[in-house]
Symmetry: C2
Subunit: 332 residues, 2 copies
């Protein structure tokens, strides 16, 4: 088993882009995003087309920020939460870029970073575009109940982010550096409630962090911040408990699902979720702080709940996974 990998050469994140929707436009991070839309339809007629438009704005922004054209992209990797990852597939039908679709639910951005970093480390490529999105309306009606049903949200519920985050990864250039990767293994502690993703995912975050720290002989304090994807309030406190049981004190933790919204906002409950959450917080909040030198070294650990509406109806528990990357500052 080879779960922790030290890259031969760091992979450089030379650009990032983040685009958000209506609720995100009221977020504490609103000034950090590249672009915000006040209409979650993004000018389209269906929610699914809207998510494609969201991804395309993000790619356009990313390529402009990096100052390169579509033809210069070696390959792309991407994901979303729609069945058969159709948002990402429908986005890339309009680009002439070799493409890999992946699925890791809300772990998709860390999975994409791990896979892209390892693929770039193979020396066959110079660069890779990685993009991940989620949309409240495409995800909520698909994973839980139809939106029109107006189901009451439980206190453990998390709000699926309407946002997309993209990064441009290169073998050479300026920017924060991915230096180590950890591939997750699937854990399942028997949680069955699709309205309590944080509790389901916390054990997988704990496993990945514990295994990584052990394999690299390091401790949380070696990092400025350990970021998780979207555990929310409930999942975050469970993560700390699980680590404490292993004798690991985690007092420099931040969760993207707790960062992106103000808890005084309507319907936030335990926080945010959706793979666009960690992807857009990485692009808008974390990477600029690594580029400025405010952070020297962080861990980015996004978790995914690998359920479907069918498995929930069949009363299955929720398998989860967490992939991890270590990212160091552009300023050494």
């Amino acid at each position: 088993m080879r779960d922790t990998i030290i890259l031969n050469e760091p992979i450089i994140i030379t650009a990032s882009a983040s685009v958000g929707g209506e609720k995100e436009a009221q977020s504490p991070l609103k000034m950090d995003f590249d672009k915000m839309f006040s209409d979650n339809y993004f000018g389209e007629k269906t929610w699914e087309k809207a998510e494609v438009a969201l991804q395309k704005y993000t790619i356009k922004t990313l390529l402009e920020k990096r100052g390169i054209e579509e033809k210069d992209v070696d390959f792309a990797i991407g994901a979303d939460l729609c069945n058969q990852i159709t948002s990402t597939n429908f986005t890339f039908r309009d680009y002439n870029i070799p493409f890999f679709g992946v699925y890791g639910a809300c772990s998709s951005m860390s999975q994409s970073l791990v896979m892209a970093s390892l693929l770039l480390d193979s020396k066959h490529f110079n660069n890779c575009l990685a993009i991940v999105s989620s949309h409240f309306a495409t995800a909520e009606r698909q994973f839980r109940t139809p939106l029109d049903y107006g189901g009451k949200r439980t206190p453990t519920a998390q709000w699926t982010v309407t946002a997309s985050g993209a990064v441009f990864l290169e073998k050479e250039g300026k920017g924060a550096r991915i230096t180590k990767c950890h591939i997750g293994t699937i854990t399942d502690l028997g949680i069955k409630d699709p309205n309590n993703m944080g509790a389901a995912m916390a054990p997988s975050a704990a496993k990945t962090i514990i295994d990584f720290l052990k394999n690299t002989n390091s401790k949380p304090r070696d990092y400025d911040v350990i970021f998780t994807g979207d555990l929310g309030k409930i999942g975050s406190s469970l993560l700390k408990e699980l680590l404490k049981k292993e004798g690991i004190l985690l007092d420099n933790h931040m969760d993207c699902g707790c960062l992106i919204y103000d808890f005084s906002m309507e319907n936030i409950q335990s926080g945010a979720s959706g793979c666009g959450c960690s992807a857009s917080v990485l692009a808008s909040y974390i990477l600029p702080r690594l580029n400025s030198g405010e952070y020297k070294k962080i861990l980015f650990v996004a978790t995914g709940a690998l359920l479907s509406a069918t498995t929930s109806m069949q009363k299955e528990s929720i398998p989860c996974i967490a992939h991890l990357v270590e990212i160091t500052s552009a300023k050494g």
Copy 2:
């Protein structure tokens, strides 16, 4: 753009395994499969659990054939057709193996081979387990109509295979060798009929084959056979027409979707489909012939139709992709 990659060192396929269901047990390839079940429930109570059982039998067979244990697997990559690739995710919750879930619809086995080969070529790993499955009952009711509806099958329809194929890839050892890879780009020529996958996918197979032959300055006759995934009869003849327009004569083509069933069998129409089709034909039929020396060099080009039930209902056309690997005989 880096679509065609010549691997630094060939990646060896040291073992393969294939398991099929009831209809596959009547197939012309039945003697080539490792195991056939006469009950598509595989002893389980739901179709979804059945597909997980199918994958687990395949992994067990693969590890036994290779003579190694779960703990010796560096990482796994896998896919299926269920929403959120739950069959593969639910399989791997019972293994302690670092795992990447991918989604390329029926191109998933060639996508997994391309990604795994490139990841192994990075020198961070010694081996990888790749597995792909489909199940008629989980796929048909999800992509088209409920099974109980008993909809009339069109002449263009293809029967989703209930089967799983797995391969064990290593940096060293004995077996057929993956020598080149080609990453697909998404094409969409406007086909909207989810009952005519072959017509939708043929242009993507054509694009990948044309681009690969051009990039490597080769011609179809350099290969014993060019295998496509599951174009069926209709897609296969369209592929030949599309290549002919480009001045490429394809007279050594075989399609896994035309190989696995006898066309005199009930409900076969244009042939077979499902990502388990090309995966199991690769494992049961193609690789043994490469190992024996009957084939010296082949191309394996599985295509994927990247639609969902939602996109079909929204009257979207069907984006498709084809990934390719060149595989040479174990006997040089």
